[in-house]
Amino acid sequence: NAGVTQTPKFRILKIGQSMTLQCAQDMNHNYMYWYRQDPGMGLKLIYYSVGAGITDKGEVPNGYNVSRSTTEDFPLRLELAAPSQTSVYFCASRGLGGASYEQYFGPGTRLTVT
């Protein structure tokens, strides 16, 4: 199993550009999450999904969009990049059993908006 994979690893965007951060998991997990981590800070939840076709806003959803057409994939879209979106983005997933909120994290995407 590859676990949770994220692409790209690094990206530099200009203000106003758009991009999609990709996230995929091969563990057949229902729940998937997108977080952002600003320097020296904890993680903040952007969006999450409890299953294919279902998404919901987290703590800091403004400026982002998500979709969940399949169980495996959960892309995060930035439509008009702003410097405030410079951050490290983590995707995570979890199943329904075990430690209920044991999340598996991807390696992260480091995004800089200039």
Binding site: L45, E59, Q103
Partner: protein, 110 residues
């Protein structure tokens, strides 16, 4: 929204020393999770505490949950350079969202 405050914000210890990290919640805890993040990498789940008074250990790391104080502590015994990283507590809110604490950066000097 749920707020999880961690203290200290950063910690530098000599190898072999013991240390404690605290996580205090602004709301009732329905379970507390501890994660570790190596610098520049994703998070790794350490352990979960569900009941007041519960204590769990993983190698040299022990975590306790005090429901009355809405607080959890993470204790590392005889720290090693491999313990270095960022430790984050997390909790589920009543809205089924997951919140992370502010994080504690640990440096272990050989």
């Amino acid at each position: 929204s749920q707020e999880l405050e961690q203290s200290p914000q950063s910690l530098i210890v000599q190898e072999g020393k013991n240390l404690t990290i605290n996580c205090t919640s602004s709301k009732t805890l329905y379970g507390l999770y501890w994660y570790k993040q190596k610098y520049g990498e994703g998070l790794i789940f350490l352990m979960m505490l569900q009941k007041g008074g519960e204590e769990k250990s993983h190698e040299k790391i022990t975590a306790k949950l005090d429901e009355k104080k809405q607080q959890s502590s993470l204790h590392i015994t005889a720290s090693q350079p491999s313990h270095a990283g960022i430790y984050l507590c997390g909790a589920v809110s009543t809205g089924n969202q997951f919140y992370f604490g502010t994080g504690t950066s640990l440096t272990v000097i050989p």
